[in-house]
Symmetry: D2
Subunit: 147 residues, 4 copies
């Protein structure tokens, strides 16, 4: 049974392989300093950035989720943007992904947030099988101007 | 020629019809208190929420844009989320929409932001004619869990 | 017995006389729009600004406290700045002030904050009788450059 | 002549001795991870924490200042809290401290902030000789509850 809990100060070594697996999936590389900075922001309670780990029966970290909050013009409550989600290959199909999303959803309810949302590649049909069960595809698409 | 400038304290009366037109387009109604709160947040320099107006040759407000910043796990810089964009019916085709987006892009560059992004309805092909010229459709789609 | 609870959406009428009493104590006047904006920020869960009311046995609001959080360079946790505290004249000596401070302290612990602090006029010896019992006078003094 | 400029990504080695001198002055030690985290937050444009360095004629870093912004209940603008200020022993009396404060003040004006403030030990009369020239001692004193 998967347990999900908040990321902690001494989780860096357990979290790093999941973070790297996630970046690899998106064919992205980041400087080590950014990775360390992001980890610190995730555990720093003064930021609006948060993280959690999924642990398997043996207490091994098999999944991670990172989210952040921001205000919205239509609401007094905050929006929760689930930015990163990753489950290690061996743990797929064990419910870890769903448990991570539910962790964020519960967190959001406790924080009085108005909604939880995320973006995913239109081509990632595997992930969408899960997402279609726990959330609503809104029909909105994403545009971006890179610096 | 359209001029775009930052939203100011005494712009409420000029801004309100544009905001209402925008909400109507999305078939949304908001309490007056939320509308007022959002306006105040847009002009409050201590928030991460910002607004600008597009003015026509006669100095009339014909368009508005609202944006906010949030951190991202992949970056030391902030992301700019262009949340709301609206141009009044009479001013469409005059370049006001493009000028509003460019205003946000310039603001983002000055602020050292990493990227500007927004979401739009997949069905809104009219807007996408503009967006395809100024930005990149990333192929990401939007999922949401409402409270 | 005083009860302290989070400020809520429909508390504006109960909160306003306390806020005005507080401003009067500091011989300050604010535009109505700022007062309304501040109330909205206090109840908006997406801001870092928070409020609570102290209620007496009859359920009447007799005290208020506002606080905000900000990061600090020496810490991974947030600092809680207790910015405004007021107890109505009739309710002084009933423990309402202490209860309000304790509410903020408990909130801070739950939020993982590193410390709670506030500033007070050196000349306000009445308030300091309470503060000396619940907190530490650090020997730091306040300098300010007004715009 | 002292030049003050924003802290940059590759300033860590120049900034570190000043930061350590500052901590030593306050008889404080911090984990290396907190120091690194603080440096990253100072250069991360998505945070509300900022830093600058004072350079002497030889381009050597001889002083540092860190500040952050937070909202205030009496204002639509942000408050600037100048949290850390340090000038190396050899550079004292060269105007570096004053130049660092003026840098923050100029930054604050550009950002539309309402005020700049800081705290200092009542016993630190040397620093107060400078502060009394550039700012107002408000008569407010600091109380703190440590976790």
């Amino acid at each position: 049974m998967t347990v999900v809990r908040a990321l902690q100060h001494d989780d860096f070594d357990a979290w790093l392989p999941l973070w790297k697996g996630y970046l690899e999936f998106y064919e992205t590389e980041l400087e080590d300093e950014i990775t360390r900075h992001t980890f610190e922001r995730l555990i720093d309670t003064s930021t609006d950035m948060f993280g959690a780990l999924a642990l398997n029966d043996d207490g091994e970290a098999v999944g991670m989720v990172n989210w952040l909050t921001h205000p919205g013009t239509w609401s007094r409550g905050q929006y929760v943007y689930l930015e990163d989600l990753f489950v290690s290959v061996n743990a797929r199909g064990t419910g870890a992904g769903r448990a991570l999303i539910e962790h964020v959803q519960t967190w959001a309810e406790t924080a009085g947030a108005t909604k939880v949302y995320w973006l995913t590649a239109d081509s990632n049909k595997t992930a969408q099988q899960l997402y279609d069960r726990v959330a609503t595809k809104t029909g909105f698409i994403h545009y971006q101007i890179d610096k």
